[in-house]
Subunit: 147 residues, 2 copies
DNA sequence: TCATATACTATCGTATGCGATTAAATTCAA
DNA sequence: TTGAATTTAATCGCATACGATAGTATATGA
């Protein structure tokens, strides 16, 4: 790295920070009618794939801590999207499951990622370029997690 | 896109969201002795490049709104890093400038991005791979902003 | 078995982000 | 020139993030 690392334009981190915020807020209009947020959508996606998760599965999968996930799940429970039940086997654990309302959202929201991808491609980003980002980000995330 | 878009592992957005949070929190230990946060660091970088900015320059450059920037700057002023002065010429505007304390931080913090980059490279990510991400993210950000 | 360690989740405090609205100063147009 | 439009920034409310700590249940080992 030979350029000046202290310039905003040279910082990878600033780009990631910006890209993440902008793409997340691009989701927001699609979520509006369902009254959910992007992190809540992540939890739903996780549960649509595998229902009845315990908190630690959710925190590991989303790379978030309980101090973020617990209140988030409490809000989702209040909205009737999920249930948070104590495990019979191990009373420390809490099992998170979809309500019928939460399950129904899968069908209703399934086109959202495609809509968004189409928007982005229509605005000039190639599918290939988008797909090139995937393995780079995966390696990046893995590298940082290993620290 | 032929794969199931509703799986967490298939989502570019989730990767960006995760990568941004993880790299930001990798900065945190370096910031600790200066008692600043990552968004505050962004403001400092911007002012080190060009002092005496007005609020709208900061919001445009960082792609953030005043409802984020104003309180952030108020906290930075309280810490003695910056001044927020009304413009004489146009009383709607507020000019943000570095204090001597804020200026001194540039020298003290200049090695942080290199340290972090070194950490990442030492953990297996190539410099080339990091640099490949830059133009992809730039195009991605531009594409979303144009929507 | 029973004290200690570990696992699991929740809570607290503070700093962002952001949609929505408000407030104040300047510009502009009839 | 003066009232409406525009520009600029601040405020409000709510939902994350996250470091630090607390609380409770299970596991473990002497």
């Amino acid at each position: 790295m030979t350029y000046n690392q202290l310039k905003l334009d040279n910082q990878l981190c600033f780009r990631l920070y910006t890209a993440a915020r902008l793409i997340t807020s691009s989701y927001t209009p699609y979520f509006k009618k369902f009254n959910i947020t992007y992190p809540q959508y992540l939890v739903l996606m996780l549960l649509w794939e595998k229902d009845n998760c315990i908190i630690s599965e959710i925190t590991e999968r989303l790379h978030l801590e309980t101090n973020t996930i617990t209140p988030l799940l409490q809000r989702m429970e209040k909205q009737g999207l999920i249930l948070r039940q104590k495990s019979e086997v191990d009373n420390r654990r809490r099992i998170v499951s979809l309500t019928s309302k939460g399950k129904r959202l899968e069908e209703q929201m399934k086109e959202i990622p495609n809509c968004l991808a189409r928007e982005i491609v229509d605005n000039g980003m190639n599918v290939e370029e988008l797909q090139n980002m995937i393995p780079l980000l995966d390696k990046f995330i893995l590298t940082i997690k290993e620290k």
